[in-house]
C-alpha cells in the first residue's frame, strides 16, 4: 500500500497548487511535463529541416578562402544573408536547450513524485537512454558549424576517445570517419546529428508503449507560450558567427552551452580516465535509481473468469495497457475474456471502477469488501434524520 514520502513531493504539490490558481489545471504546464520535450522535438525537426536545406557538410577549401562553399560559409550564408536565417538558427539552438531543460524537469518531477519505479521501469530506462541520445545529438550540432569551437570540441572528443582502453581507437576512427578530419568526417557528423535524431522516434515508441493514451501534445496555448520563451532567447541572445576553424591553429577558449557542452567542461577539470569513470557511474546510478527504493511488489488485479462478459471496458480504461482481451474459452457464452499482464499492472483499481459486473478485483482490496464497508458505515447507529 501507499507509503508516505510527502517530504519530496510537497515541493511539487505547492508549485502545482500555485500554478493551478493562475492557469487552472487544464493549462498547468506541470501536468504536461512529458509532452513539453516532445513539442520541442517537433520544433527542432522543422527548424532543422530548414537549416538542412542550405547546409553544405564539407570542409572543402575551408582554409583557403571564406568565399568558397563549405560548412562554415554555408552556415555564415544562413546567418547573414538568408532572411530570418539567423532566427531559424536561434530557434534550433534554443529549442534544443529548452528540450534538455524540459527533459530534466520531467525527470526530476517523476522522481520527486515517485512515478518511475516498478511498473514504470521501462519508461525510466528508455527515458535515460533518450536523454543520453538527445545530449549526444545536440553536441554534434556544435561540430557542424565548423568554427573554432567545433574544432576544439572535435579535438577534445578525439582525445577523450583516445583515453578509453581497447575501444578508444576504433571509436576515434569511427567518429572522424577516417584517420584525420576530412570531408568524410562531416558526412559522419551530419549522419549522427540528423540520422540518429530519427532514432529518438523509436526510443519514444519504447517510452510510450506501456501507456494507454500518453500525453504527447500540450494544449496550443502552452505551445505558444513555450515558443514565445524560445523567441525571447533568440532575440536577446542572437546567434553570431565565430572565427572559422583553422586546422593549424590551436584555439583554447569557447562559449559554453551548459545544456549540451557541460561534459567538455568536466573534461578539462579532471583526468580523462576519471571523466569516463564519472560518466559511467552517473549513468549506472541513474539507471539503477528505481532499484534502490524497496517496496513490496504490486498486487496485480485479477479477473474472475466466470463473471467476465468480455465487454473490454477495463482494457480500454487501463492507463498502463495491462489488460488484454483474448478469445474466451469454448465453454464461455462470451466472445472475449480479459486477462491481466501482471508485470504492467500498477494495482490502481481503475479496472475495478470500469467493471459493472464485479469481474475484476485487486487481491488486497476486494470491491465487495469496499461495498460492505460502505454499507456497515451507513448502517451503524442509524441516524435520526
Amino acid at each position: 500500500m501507499y507509503t508516505e514520502r510527502l517530504g519530496l513531493t510537497k515541493l511539487f504539490l505547492l508549485a502545482e497548487k500555485g500554478l493551478n490558481a493562475i492557469a487552472t489545471s487544464k493549462y498547468n504546464p506541470l501536468y504536461y511535463h512529458g509532452a513539453l520535450p516532445q513539442f520541442f522535438l517537433w520544433v527542432l525537426f522543422l527548424s532543422g529541416l530548414l537549416l538542412f536545406a542550405y547546409y553544405i557538410p564539407t570542409i572543402d577549401n575551408a582554409y583557403a578562402s571564406t568565399a568558397l562553399i563549405n560548412a562554415y560559409t554555408s552556415v555564415k550564408y544562413i546567418t547573414e544573408t538568408i532572411p530570418f536565417g539567423v532566427v531559424v538558427r536561434g530557434i534550433h539552438r534554443y529549442a534544443g536547450d529548452a528540450m534538455v531543460f524540459t527533459i530534466l524537469l520531467h525527470m526530476i518531477r517523476v522522481w520527486f513524485t515517485d512515478r518511475y519505479r516498478q511498473y514504470r521501469i521501462v519508461q525510466w530506462l528508455s527515458g535515460v537512454a533518450l536523454l543520453f541520445l538527445v545530449l549526444v545529438i545536440g553536441q554534434t550540432g556544435y561540430y557542424l558549424v565548423w568554427d573554432e569551437r567545433s574544432l576544439v570540441l572535435t579535438r577534445m572528443t578525439v582525445g577523450a576517445f583516445d583515453a578509453l582502453p581497447g575501444i578508444g581507437e576504433p571509436l576515434k576512427w569511427w567518429f572522424l570517419n577516417g584517420k584525420a578530419i576530412t570531408n568524410f568526417t562531416f558526412s559522419n557528423y551530419l549522419f549522427i546529428h540528423i540520422g540518429l535524431s530519427f532514432s529518438l522516434l523509436f526510443g519514444l515508441w519504447v517510452h510510450y508503449v506501456r501507456m494507454q493514451r500518453p500525453v504527447v501534445t500540450p494544449p496550443p496555448v502552452i505551445n505558444y507560450l513555450l515558443m514565445a520563451c524560445v523567441m525571447l532567447a533568440v532575440f536577446w541572445f542572437p546567434i553570431h558567427m565565430e572565427e572559422p576553424a583553422m586546422l593549424t591553429a590551436q584555439p583554447s577558449q569557447f562559449e559554453v552551452d551548459w545544456f549540451f557542452l557541460a561534459p567538455y567542461v568536466l573534461m578539462t577539470a579532471m583526468p580523462l580516465q576519471a571523466f569516463w569513470g564519472l560518466m559511467a557511474t552517473l549513468t549506472l546510478v541513474t539507471c539503477c535509481l528505481p532499484y534502490f527504493v524497496k517496496t513490496p511488489p504490486v498486487e496485480a488485479a485479477e479477473v474472475v473468469d466466470s463473471k467476465c462478459t468480455g465487454c473490454s471496458l477495463c482494457a480500454r480504461d487501463c492507463p498502463y495497457a495491462a489488460i488484454e482481451m483474448v478469445p474466451a474459452g469454448a465453454g464461455s457464452r462470451f466472445k472475449l475474456l480479459a486477462t491481466v499482464k501482471a508485470y504492467r499492472c500498477s494495482g490502481c483499481g481503475v479496472c475495478v471502477g470500469a467493471c459493472a459486473f464485479d469481474a475484476i478485483d485487486l487481491p488486497d482490496l476486494l470491491d465487495t469488501d469496499v461495498s460492505a464497508k460502505i454499507k456497515s458505515l451507513v448502517a451503524q447507529q442509524s441516524p435520526s434524520g
Binding site: 500500500m1 510527502l6 493551478n20 480504461d317 500498477s346 459493472a356 485487486l362 460502505i374 442509524s382 441516524p383
Partner: protein
C-alpha cells in the same frame, strides 16, 4: 442529526488521516465517514448507488487534482463516469445532487472540509424541502 455522508477518497489526494476518528468519521464533520481507496478511479458507480440505497444522504468522491493522478488517469476516469461521459455510469434513478466530486491535492484538507460543509448544508435544505412537500 442529519443523515450520513460517505467520502470515497483516493489515499494520495487530500489527506484527512489526522482529522479522522478511528471509526473513519471526520472530527470537524460529524456524520461524514472516510473510505480510503488506492485511487479514485477504483470507485465503481455501483458503490455510490449502494451507499445511497443503504440510506446515506450523500456521497463525496475525492481524487487528486485533475491532471495529477499518480496512476495517470484514475481521477479523470471517475470524473467522466460521474458526468455520464464514460461507461459504466450512475443509474438514471440516482439523485445526482447527492453526489459530489472533489479534486484536491494532499495539501488541501481545509478546502475539503469547507466544500463538504457546504454540501451537507445543501443536503439539509433538500431534506427540508422534501419533508415540506410530503407533509
Amino acid at each position: 442529526m442529519a443523515g450520513k455522508v460517505i467520502a470515497l477518497m483516493c489515499e494520495r489526494s487530500c489527506d484527512m488521516t489526522t482529522h479522522c476518528k478511528s471509526s473513519g468519521e471526520i472530527e470537524d464533520l460529524p456524520g461524514v465517514y472516510v473510505v480510503k481507496l488506492p485511487c479514485s478511479g477504483m470507485v465503481q458507480p455501483a458503490m455510490i448507488e449502494a451507499a445511497l440505497k443503504a440510506g446515506a444522504e450523500g456521497v463525496v468522491v475525492t481524487g487528486c487534482q485533475i491532471g495529477d493522478c499518480y496512476y495517470r488517469e484514475g481521477n479523470k476516469m471517475i470524473k467522466e463516469r460521474l458526468l455520464g461521459e464514460r461507461p459504466p455510469g450512475l443509474k438514471k434513478a440516482v439523485d445526482r445532487r447527492r453526489v459530489l466530486g472533489l479534486w484536491l491535492s494532499r495539501l488541501q484538507p481545509d478546502r475539503f472540509i469547507a466544500e463538504v460543509k457546504e454540501f451537507k448544508a445543501t443536503l439539509k435544505s433538500m431534506a427540508a424541502a422534501d419533508s415540506a412537500q410530503t407533509r
